[in-house]
């Protein structure tokens, strides 16, 4: 009788194709996003995240098409992020079939965007994506980065997550840029610190490599766990992640047994 821990595959999309790089540097093509999303749905994914990393504005148009085609055949929640700047972008993505839209750089540049979006569309569809890295010095020890982790902002990541939730973000998509691509496990202190600072759901991202990593993220407060290449290249199956979480006593949605 509790909400299930969500297991979420993330599809990085560039010009209509799925890609994912190690530490966001070298990119490999892993297929058609619509087919992949449908396959993940069939496998029991609780939600799909599309991250649009397309640089050109022409290429960005393809995202609406990808989204619409996915929403036509995949009946689980779809979240889209990447390059979202204004309410108009959000409106268009929601109309194309997104259920939630994640905002990153634009919200850092102008935090009021989050309150505008939540007032207009409801906080349930406003996700703030926080790409954090460890830094020495005062504060939480985590800094917000932009541009795929290449640029620091000097903003405290934990304080920013709390402020974003206060402004109306309904969920935090929390990525450790240090852990991302390493397969050495989630950054547990980061998840724990953000969990303590917000009362909206926290999606843990970056660093998953082994089955046991997921339960550790949940143990420190993640409401959902996200991975990309790990799933795309079949190194771990979504079902296996859920079975592992269930074995550790966490509620998951598994179709073989119904509710657990």
């Amino acid at each position: 009788m509790t909400v299930a821990i969500r297991v979420i595959p993330c599809l990085d999309v560039d010009g209509g194709r799925v890609v994912k790089g190690v530490n966001f540097v070298s990119l490999r093509d892993a297929g058609d996003p619509v087919e992949l999303a449908a396959a993940y749905d069939a496998e029991g994914a609780d939600e799909i995240v599309f991250l649009d990393i397309t640089a050109s504005s022409d290429g960005r148009e393809t995202m609406y098409d990808v989204l619409a085609r996915t929403a036509d055949q995949v009946f689980i929640p779809l979240t889209v992020g990447g390059g979202v700047r204004c309410a108009g972008d959000v409106d268009r993505l929601l109309r194309a079939g997104a259920d939630k839209v994640s905002v990153n750089t634009a919200a850092i540049a102008r935090p009021e965007l989050l309150s505008e979006l939540s007032a207009r569309f409801g906080s349930q569809c406003v996700v703030v994506s926080v790409d954090a890295r460890r830094v020495p010095g005062p504060g939480s020890g985590f800094e917000v980065t932009t541009h795929g982790g290449r640029r620091g902002t000097g903003i405290d990541a934990v304080a920013w997550a709390a402020r974003a939730a206060g402004l109306g973000a309904g969920e935090i998509l929390l990525t450790s840029m240090d852990a991302d691509g390493t397969k050495a496990g989630f950054d547990l202190p980061l998840i724990s610190a953000v969990r303590a600072a917000v009362d909206v759901p926290v999606v843990a991202s970056g660093g998953a490599g082994r089955l046991a990593d997921f339960a550790q993220a949940v143990a420190v407060g993640a409401d959902a766990v996200l991975a990309a290449s790990l799933f795309h290249f079949g190194e771990l199956r979504i079902t296996a992640v859920k079975e592992s979480l269930r074995a550790d006593g966490y509620p998951v949605r598994l179709s073989d047994t119904g509710a657990s």
């Binding site: 909400v3 821990i5 969500r6 619409a68 009946f75 689980i76 079939g97 906080s123």
Partner: protein, 206 residues
């Protein structure tokens, strides 16, 4: 003949998903704000996301409250989803603001008392054998995303089929009341279980 269903477009909700999920479940679905089409359809779906007050004013502006009332008077099926369910109750209280709903059901939509909000994700429900909507899927999980809900059916009298869920505290997850049904969760986003529930609703129309 496929049942003809109108997804009422009054400016709220991810209508495409509801439309496509209804088609998948076997309906001849149409998204429109046209009052005549909404009256004539075999079934009317009232979606809704965001704030109670905004949904209610949008619904009123589109004449939706009257359409719903007229349909019910004629015994014709209506299905509310998420905030489309909440607005069927007496009133909603959000951020200290109280807004009147359609008042078809006795109850107040209020903020859930839970450590994490919104209630976002797949949860179980307490559907019983008397439920038609949940036939065959009573043990499944459904996708919820909301911070407000109705925690009490405010009447000692007539009591329809109520299905409950829990997030922090107990709340009404679905109501089956003759021609008027509603779910707090999103059947159109609840995968195969949601499709089965929509099929069950379409069965009632036939």
């Amino acid at each position: 003949m496929k049942p003809r269903v109108v997804v009422f477009d009054y400016g709220s909700g991810n209508l495409r998903s509801a439309h496509r999920a209804l088609q998948r479940a076997g309906a001849d679905s149409e998204v429109t704000a046209d009052a005549r089409a909404a009256m004539k359809a075999d079934g009317l779906v009232v979606p809704g996301v965001g704030a109670f007050a905004a949904c209610m004013s949008g619904l009123r502006a589109a004449g939706g409250d009257e359409i719903i009332a007229k349909r019910l008077a004629a015994g014709r099926r209506v299905l509310g989803i998420c905030v489309g369910m909440q607005v069927l109750f007496t009133r909603g209280r959000e951020h200290g603001v109280v807004t009147d709903g359609c008042a078809l059901w006795p109850g107040v939509v209020d903020r859930l008392d839970a450590s994490v909000l919104p209630h976002m994700g797949w949860n179980t429900v307490t559907a019983t054998a008397v439920s038609s909507l949940f036939a065959g899927v009573a043990g499944e999980r459904f996708y919820f995303v909301h911070s407000y809900a109705v925690k009490r059916w405010d009447s000692d009298g007539r009591r329809p089929v109520l299905t409950w869920a829990t997030h922090g505290e107990r709340f009404i997850a679905a109501v089956e009341d003759g021609p008027l049904c509603a779910t707090q969760f999103h059947p159109e986003k609840s995968g195969d279980a949601g499709a089965a529930l929509l099929s069950n609703w379409l069965e009632m129309i036939r």
